[in-house]
């Protein structure tokens, strides 16, 4: 399992499509920084292929006032959770 | 990469040629066989036909690819142009002792190779 990390919003960049295109069926995607916008119910459809494998970083959601507004399908993790995801992954791939 | 900082000058015949802190030419167009002879003398190398043919390979490499080669591609280019006997790092080590990719690039009037130690 690889952990892909995305820091751009689907509203501003299509890089999320490139991330998804290179993801294997077990790989996970973590949304950080502006990427957490993708966790909103109106935008999460862009990640529907990843059911159960989409994560968002709590600290970045909180900073943007989006903590309570995430779609229920997104797993919210804090920085410790980020570290755990990294440890469980063979390696990470950054998309920016 | 080519440095634009003039550190010192090399006297070649009646001319002064600007060198950067690592001894590479500041103006690549200053190169001439006479400049190569002077640079080689500084390295304690007496240029033989075997040296000149490698310098020729380097100058052709730079003209084509716009970069000085690291050791592996230099060995490959020399092997292609001069035959497999010469396309070996031991041959280049003998001609340009120390760090062959850097020393030979300096004598050939190329910038310092970017992708090597």
């Amino acid at each position: 399992m690889l952990l892909h990390i995305l820091n751009r919003s689907p509203l501003s960049s299509l890089v999320y499509r490139q991330a998804i295109a290179t993801m294997g069926t077990e790989d996970r995607l973590l949304l950080i920084e502006d990427g957490v916008q993708g966790a909103l119910p109106t935008l999460v459809r862009h990640f529907e292929a990843l059911e159960g494998r989409l994560f968002a970083l709590r600290e970045d959601l909180v900073a943007r006032g989006l903590a309570g507004k995430c779609d229920a399908s997104v797993q919210v993790v804090d920085v410790d959770g980020f570290v755990e995801l990294t440890e469980e992954a063979e390696r990470t791939v950054s998309w920016y | 990469m080519a440095s634009t900082t003039i550190d010192h000058y090399l006297r070649v015949g009646g001319n002064e040629v600007a060198l950067d802190p690592e001894g590479y030419l500041v103006e690549l167009s200053d190169w001439s066989p006479a400049v190569a002879e002077c640079l080689a003398e500084q390295e304690g190398i007496a240029l033989t036909p075997e040296h000149w043919e490698v310098i020729g390979v380097l100058r052709a490499f730079y003209a084509r690819y716009e970069q000085a080669p690291a050791m592996r591609p230099l060995v490959k280019a020399v092997g292609r142009e001069l035959g497999p006997e010469k396309g070996r790092s031991i041959h280049l080590m003998r001609l340009f002792p120390g760090s062959p990719a850097k020393v030979s690039a300096r004598l050939a009037g190329l910038p310092k190779p970017a992708n090597c130690l």
């Binding site: 690889l2 299509l14 077990e26 | 084509r64 690819y65 592996r72 992708n115």
Partner: protein, 125 residues
């Protein structure tokens, strides 16, 4: 967890930016060249706008910026010969392999999805 598939290479460099517009393409190629100079087995994956780096007949930019075509031609001297191209992206640009300056392997979506997995390290540029 399934078994790790056999590795195709040590390093996958993903190139997503075209020539002239930013320095990312050049930085990615430099990373690939450094790794290859140290004997690593490197693959390049061109995606999206990055595919335009391979188009034939490129020139210097309008302000005289050096292009990347010479560097791409040089890849074979560093034994970098696994050049992968996203087929969907290639079609999106209206291009075919014959429009490209180097021989490439065009990947379908299932081949795309395994590339990061089959390299020991992945860098995106």
């Amino acid at each position: 967890m399934t078994d790790v598939p056999p590795y195709h290479g040590d390093l996958l460099v993903i190139l997503r930016h075209g020539p002239h517009g930013s320095s990312l393409l050049r930085e990615g190629l430099d990373a690939a060249l450094v790794a290859a100079a140290f004997g690593r087995d490197v693959s390049l994956l061109f995606m999206g706008e990055g595919i335009s780096a391979l188009v034939r007949d490129q020139q210097v930019g309008p302000l005289g910026q050096k292009g990347t075509a010479a560097t791409l031609q040089m890849l074979e001297m560093y034994d970098i010969d696994r050049l992968l191209v996203d087929g969907e992206g290639l079609a999106g640009l209206g291009l075919a392999p014959r429009d490209l300056m180097l021989p490439v392997e065009v990947l379908d979506s299932s081949a795309m999805a395994v590339q990061p997995k089959v390299h020991r390290l992945v860098l995106t540029f």
